[in-house]
């Protein structure tokens, strides 16, 4: 399978290790990725907040670029990009007026037909394939993992259409397939406040703090995420959250692709584990994981 890779803005800067680990994991899973040349930002929340058409046309621009490539669809790694790209397809497919407006804005018609897949979806497909277990070369047993899905990966279900919006399981199944231990916790679909990350920092601190606190209370060793915005709030901001809320957290947050990469035997350096604010290496070693 070959995909047109849409990394999204964060993977070019604050989430470089997500990009690196995604490329490594994809290679191990036999997925061929070719980055969409000159893709542009999906517009994220600010675009649809300011103009509905802008929120659809920006992702449609990149989808049109992807359409010219000979692939099985677009692969995204960010939950917000995923949501916006899928929302664009959904709107163009279901709303004739919007389709026309998008064509007028872009100066070119887009039919809404390029499939958009999140790396997690493809990983979920892969773990069900025969031979997956043979790829696992590093034992993760004993590692307790809280899977954090956040908002836009599973909501609204009529747009994303994969996994249960209230109690999703795809990351948990992945954790189990890698031999680690998924923990059942309460905050897996609560919002981290990403849309307010710059403008309402106190709200983000509270929301993200509660998520991390619940992971800690459930005695998870690490939290895994499938979105760079979630990661930025939960990891990069964690020291600041501790100070703001007067609590002690120290919860390492990994991208699920990093966990996948660990199981496939890549080194901590290759997976960019050193780029995290909360160093995950001590707890991984404590659980007997050989890195």
């Amino acid at each position: 399978m070959k995909f047109a890779f849409y990394p999204g803005c964060s993977l070019e800067s604050s989430a470089k290790e997500y990009k690196e680990s995604t490329l490594l994991a994809a290679e191990s899973l036999g997925l061929e990725l070719e980055e969409i040349p000159d893709w542009i930002c999906c517009g994220s929340t600010p675009a649809h907040m300011s103009d509905e058409l802008l929120g659809i046309a920006l992702p449609a621009y990149s989808l049109l670029l992807a359409k010219q490539m000979d692939t099985d669809g677009v692969l995204v790694t960010c939950a917000s990009c995923y949501s916006r790209l899928k929302a664009a397809n959904h709107a163009i497919l279901n709303d004739g007026t919007m389709k026309k407006k998008v064509a007028e804005a872009l100066g070119e018609e887009y039919d809404g037909g390029v499939p958009v897949r999140h790396m997690l979806e493809l990983t979920s497909d892969a773990i069900a394939q025969p031979g997956f277990d043979e790829k696992i070369t590093r034992k993760l047993s004993g590692l307790k993992v809280a899977s954090y899905y956040g908002c836009l990966l599973v909501r609204p279900p009529e747009i994303t259409g994969f996994d249960d919006p209230e109690d999703p399981q795809s990351l948990d199944r992945l954790v189990a397939a890698l031999g680690a231990e998924p923990v059942d916790w309460r905050y897996k679909v609560e919002c981290c406040g990403a849309a307010l990350a710059f403008s309402q920092v106190d709200i983000v601190r509270k929301l993200s703090g509660e998520i991390l606190q619940d992971a800690k209370d459930t005695e998870a060793d690490v939290v895994i995420v499938a979105c760079p915005l979630c990661h930025s709030n939960l990891d990069l901001r964690q020291r600041n959250i501790e100070k703001y809320l007067g609590i002690d957290l120290e919860v390492p947050v990994l991208y699920f692709t990093q966990l996948l990469g660990l199981a496939f035997g890549y080194s901590a350096a290759e997976l960019g584990l050193g780029k995290h604010e909360i160093n995950p290496v001590p707890v991984l070693r404590k659980r007997g994981i050989n890195i």
Binding site: D164, P165, E166, D167, R186, D214, D217
Partner: protein
Amino acid sequence: MARIGVFICWCGSNIASTVDVKAVAEAAADFPGVAHSVEYKYMCSDPGQTLIRQAIKEKQLTGLVVAACSPRMHEPTFRRAALESGMNPYLVEMANIREHCSWVHEDRAEATTKALETVRMLVEKVRRNTPLEEIRVPVTKRALVIGGGVAGIQAGLDIISAGIPVTVVERTPSIGGHMSQLDETFPTLDCSQCILTPKMVELSQSPLTTIYTYSEIEEVTGYVGNFKVKIRQKAKTVDHVKCTGCGICVEKCPAKVPSEFECGLADRKAIYVPFPQAIPNKPVIDRPNCIYFAKGKCGVCKKICPAEAIDYDVEDTIVEEEVGAIVVATGYDLIDRALYGEYGYGKIADVVDGLQFERMLSASGPTGGKLIKPSTGETPKTVVFVQCVGSRDDSKGIPYCSRICCMYTAKHAMLFKHKVKDGKAYIFYIDVRAGGKGYEEFVKRAVDEDRVVYLRGRVSRIFEKNGTVFVKGSDTISGQQVEIRADLVVLATAVAASDGARQLAQKLRIGFDQHGFLTEAHPKLRPVETNTPGVYLAGTCQAPKDIPDTVSQASAAASKVLGLLSSDELVREPLVAHVSESVCISCFACEDTCPYGAIERVEWKDPETGLTTEIARVNPGICEGCGACIPVCRPKAVDLRGFSEEQIYSEINALSDMFKVKR
């Protein structure tokens, strides 16, 4: 030569304000075959009917067209009037110039034209009407009740009270239904079992009653007054004639499964009696959960039974019954737990549904009437009740109100406070619907005397952390988000149609709505009848309702049954299909098409050739006159009495003639 009388009704101003009735009467007088045409203010009134009766005699009329309201309203009135003057009632037709004309149009000229066209069409039809005789069929004086809950029990009791025998078919091993699971009932707080069990006993002990438990309806054929029913008796594996009900088998059975009666709060054995007051009070073996049936080993019950009543080899049996009327009382189920992921329904032990809470309240329940947190067995101090869980929720596919939850939730909160004096009860609601007798007072009592706190808002999410259940709701009156840390949460889950109701409806050829509730013939005026004559509805199979309404409807259904079975013969309208024997080519396409199973195959000897062939015949007792057989009959052997092809084409031709005139 036809001499038709046309009678145009004003219906006060209902018709006359939109239709120029005088002009219609005048124009109709010139229609071919019309001998008399008049208008009058109220045709259905006594003077109006007298006008018709006199005209029939004086003008020697051969047919009537009454242009007035819908035939659903007054067709019987005018047909009776005709009969009183010696005219065959099937020579009378109504032209609907009210519902189909004056009520739905504003332009007077156009409405008048339409009324005239309608009258013209009916005149052409009546010119071709023939006298018809009513169909008389014999009646089987026995009733079938499907479902042994309170609705079925009440209907059964009312029917036997008139001396008519009744057969009750119940799917589970005992009659009693959901009412036998309840603790105390609103608004009087009387004990549910205490008021139900005397009825169960009375019904089961009557010599007029036959009860088939652990049984389901296999097939229904026949028609009103003469149904033939095949009942599948699932293999009980226990011979109830030999069994003494000693219970030793139940005691010794090693296989445990969650009890349906206790809503999963306790286990039962694979050989079991669902509850202590069950009728019959003899066990059945639940084969899929029995070790002997799964593995071929065990056999403890057979070894131990002193009456030698266990027989592993018995199979399902089919019994046939003939009945004249059927009451459907199949009750309800609660919604699928998977619908409410956000409430942890089915996942969090301390989140229960209303029926589970009833079992906890019940002195004969799994906790002996003690309220507990299922996770720990401790007494809950803070209980949150959530209403409208599923009900009034389009996103879950249930737009309707379940009708009983407001009341039973008030009752639950009240009973909780009676048992746990220092407890706190919170109810999340959207609207409190307490329209029944004594209901509003009951809800007030929960608030005023028992200090139940009502919070006006829907709950968004329920989760559990370290044994505490967090309920995230809102109170829209104060504009606050509300988070309550509860020991126990009780969900007022929506009432859903009983599993299998749709399939049963298909067997009975009765309607059901998109949610699986069975459809009454008219929501206001025929609430217990179905569109299939002789089949009646009682209780929650028709729509969610409480015990008082269920019992009322059951008694109403019984009275309909008794009305039907009170005469020796049934009189039916003769508007049925019939087959011209010599034209039928024996393709039996009509048989495949008929939704009522009214087509029979009969041997017929051609009087001209002397040859005998198998041809189709319409059983007039079953035929509903729907006409579905007519277009599929290639040689045009089938026709409908009262609505023949000739009659309908003449109406259409009359209409097209009028259009030609207009152009």
